[in-house]
């Protein structure tokens, strides 16, 4: 019942936010006790990752830890009295493998941790792509242009700013970074100008 109330108040708060009337939000806020507030936050939080994600991530860990064990054996295990280079990594990889198997079994119904990927997750992927692009381009053409592009993409498409404000802010930010990192601090970051 409390969750339903919380969901209703969340719908209300959404409508009120779009109509931009803080007065109604005042009333809605006063009605919330700590329990209801907590329930509202939980309703607004992202969905848990779910059983498939659990299985996938545990399998990845299992695979990596088995690889770790194999590589460690290759380094030589030695004996407990005289451990070789591979003993400790082997023990750690073994623990990780056991834990991964445990997680596959215990977490098969899902659980409440993690977050599901949503349409918004593409934003993070695009952000990552721009960062990699910057790593590739920076040594070649300096930091100014990739930074400008990154700022613009992040503000315009990932942040929903308008063309004009995104452009202006991007230029201002890169100029500020130039002033601080190059002019003031004298660092040797690859640059064009």
């Amino acid at each position: 019942m409390k969750l339903i109330d919380a969901k209703h108040s969340r719908q209300d708060s959404k409508e009120q936010a779009t109509s931009a009337q803080p007065a109604e939000q005042v009333q809605e806020a006063e009605a919330l006790t700590p329990d209801e507030l907590a329930a509202q936050w939980e309703a607004e939080a992202a969905e848990p990752a779910g059983p498939i994600a659990n299985l996938l991530s545990s399998l990845v860990v299992l695979g990596l830890s088995i690889a770790g064990m194999v590589l460690s054996v290759g380094l030589g295990l030695g004996t407990p009295a005289a451990p070789a280079a591979g003993m400790w990594p082997f023990v750690i990889s073994l623990i990780a493998a056991v834990m991964a198997v445990a997680q596959i079994i215990i977490g098969r119904a899902g659980g409440r941790d993690g977050e599901k990927f949503s349409a918004m997750s593409w934003y993070a992927a695009i952000g990552f792509a721009t960062l990699i692009l910057m790593v590739v381009l920076m040594p070649v053409i300096g930091f100014e242009i990739p930074s400008l592009l990154l700022c613009f993409v992040w503000m315009r498409w990932l942040g929903g700013e308008r063309w004009r404000s995104a452009t202006i802010y991007s230029i201002l930010i890169v100029a500020a970074f130039y002033a601080i990192f190059i002019a003031a601090l004298g660092t040797t970051i690859p640059r064009l100008f």
């Binding site: 936010a17 803080p22 005042v26 806020a29 006063e30 006790t33 700590p34 848990p48 990752a49 994600a53 991530s57 860990v61 830890s65 380094l75 030589g76 004996t79 407990p80 009295a81 005289a82 070789a84 280079a85 591979g86 400790w88 990594p89 750690i92 990889s93 623990i95 990780a96 834990m99 445990a102 997680q103 977490g107 941790d113 993690g114 977050e115 990927f117 949503s118 918004m120 997750s121 934003y123 993070a124 695009i126 952000g127 990552f128 990699i132 910057m134 790593v135 920076m138 040594p139 930074s147 700022c151 992040w154 503000m155 942040g159 929903g160 700013e161 930010i173 990192f181 660092t187 970051i189």
Partner: protein
């Protein structure tokens, strides 16, 4: 007492103009990020690690510490004025603080939070001043077996007490330990897991991992969450609590400070747990618990004192034993390692200027916070209007360019980006990054102590149990490891007995 000499020397260190400046910078930045949603103190400290390269160790740690406890102040502001907790440790403050703001008592709430925070931190620092030398002298007798057990216990505590699935946290810790083995083995000289890559021959540097996992990982994650635009905050007038308020809150402040001090020392504990525990305690000890959630000033004073006390006391395990109590302390541990300083019991004797300089800077930092927190509220509220869309690329660029300045190496920047992706994925799949960083930082120390112990004990693991301290620590380790199993068994028995009681009652009703 003989240690007062170094304590007073510590004040000389703090009052040095450079150190004062960095202290001020740290607490202002700390308050700022506490106010801004998105980046937390761990992420900010990680991102600013490149700044610590060019300065003295004392100066660096003074600044980083200031960021940490300054953030506890900042998170309160948004909790009270906007019902948006800026930090996890300020979540409880929303319950009563925002209601107080609605009642026109925002100033009183913020003022009592500032006073409580200051008092909590001061109590904690005094406790630190007396407790730290004791712990350090006790730990000087530690040998490799004791260190091994202590490091293992510390990692396990952080993995199990912090939120999220315990198993996944242990996996994260194992990954951190494994990453620490990459590079040249100190004992045998063999190259481990480098695959011939020269950049990996000396091991993975700590700073790119921290900056990537905590800094970029957080930034990428925030891209996904469109933060709600800051709504019009409650007007703040009369930013000083009345005498009556202070009187009502004094008990809560006292209790919160002591509770926070002890909860902060425990690895895995910390500011968030302290604030929650204080709120629960205040509710229990209040004469009229129904006031809570409706503007009870104790609901603000207690948790705020507790979280600042805990943030300060969480430095104790780091500075006296060399065991970080939480992820942020792990990053500060890394920062000390960069400076060539290995924290441990010998730190207080070998480098008393550093130790007491950092401790005493906390006094000054908290005074600065108390003075500045009230006037700066208006400034911070204005800053909140800056849209997240503009702040995000700024923080990303600071991270990227800062990473380059570590060693003038693009490889480091690449590492930061890759670990940023890993940090993001870890968050999505429910793995905590904290245990990973903590385990990474302790990894090489843990391994070398373990191997040294095995050499000393001639390969006999039972030797750990013949030494009293390591035996106690290992018993605790085993206990903490199997506690979740015990707990779920107890819970299952409880629910089955209550369900059978409920069923029995229903049968009686229907009969």
């Amino acid at each position: 007492m003989e240690f007062f000499g170094p304590v007073l020397d510590g004040f000389n260190v703090v009052l040095d103009p450079t150190n004062l400046l960095y202290c001020l910078l740290g607490v202002v930045v700390g308050m700022l990020i506490g106010v801004l949603p998105g980046l937390g103190p761990a992420a900010t400290i990680a991102i600013l690690l490149p700044m610590t390269y060019g300065v003295e160790p004392v100066t660096a740690i003074i600044m980083l510490a200031g960021i940490f406890y300054g953030a506890q102040y900042g998170g309160t502001i948004t909790s009270v004025l906007l019902r948006l907790p800026g930090e996890a440790s300020s979540v409880v403050t929303v319950f009563d603080g925002y209601v107080m703001a609605k009642q026109g008592r925002a100033g009183a709430a913020l003022g009592i939070a500032a006073i409580g925070s200051f008092f909590g931190a001061t109590v904690s620092i005094i406790g630190l001043t007396f407790l730290a030398p004791l712990v350090a002298s006790f730990a000087l007798d530690f040998g490799p077996p004791e260190y091994t057990a202590l490091a293992m216990l510390g990692i396990l505590l952080v993995a199990t007490i912090s939120g999220g699935t315990k198993i996944k946290a242990i996996i994260a810790a194992a990954v951190g330990l494994f990453l620490a083995t990459i590079g040249r083995d100190g004992f045998t000289g063999a190259e481990r897991f480098t695959f011939g890559n020269l950049s990996l021959a000396d091991g993975i540097d700590f700073v790119p991992i921290a900056m990537g996992l905590f800094g970029l990982g957080e930034i990428l994650y925030n891209l996904e969450e469109r933060h709600r635009a800051a709504t019009a905050p409650v007007k703040v007038s009369n930013v000083w609590p009345k005498g009556k308020d202070i009187k009502e809150a004094s008990g809560a402040i006292g209790r919160g400070s002591v509770l926070g001090f002890f909860l902060g020392i425990l690895p895995g504990g910390g500011a968030t747990i302290a604030s929650l525990a204080s709120y629960a305690m205040e509710k229990k000890t209040a004469k009229d618990p129904s006031r809570f959630g409706r503007g009870a000033i104790e609901g603000v004073a207690g948790p705020e004192s507790a979280n600042n006390a805990a943030a300060t006391s969480s430095f104790i395990p780091l500075l006296t034993l060399g065991i970080p109590a939480n992820a942020t302390m792990a990053i500060i541990f890394g920062a000390l390692l960069i400076q060539g300083i290995t924290p441990g019991p010998q730190l207080i004797n070998d480098d008393p200027q550093l130790f007491w300089g950092v401790v005493n800077s906390m006094y000054i930092g908290n005074i600065l916070l108390l003075i500045m927190s009230i006037p700066l509220i208006g400034v911070f509220v204005k800053i909140l209007r800056v849209r997240a869309a503009i702040l995000a690329p700024i923080t990303a660029l600071i991270t990227m360019l800062g990473a380059y300045t570590i060693r003038n190496s693009m490889f480091d920047v690449l590492l930061v980006v890759l670990f940023g992706a890993i940090g993001y994925l870890m968050k999505k799949f429910g793995f905590e990054p904290g245990p990973l960083v903590l385990a990474f930082v302790l990894g090489s120390l843990l391994e070398s102590n373990l191997r040294r112990s095995l050499l000393v004990l001639e390969g006999d693991p039972t030797g750990f149990f013949t030494r009293p301290i390591s035996a106690t620590l290992l018993v605790l380790f085993v206990f903490v490891a199997i506690w979740p199993v015990i707990k779920s068994a107890i819970d299952k028995r409880k629910t089955s007995s209550t369900t059978s009681a409920v069923v029995a009652d229903k049968q009686k009703e229907n009969a």
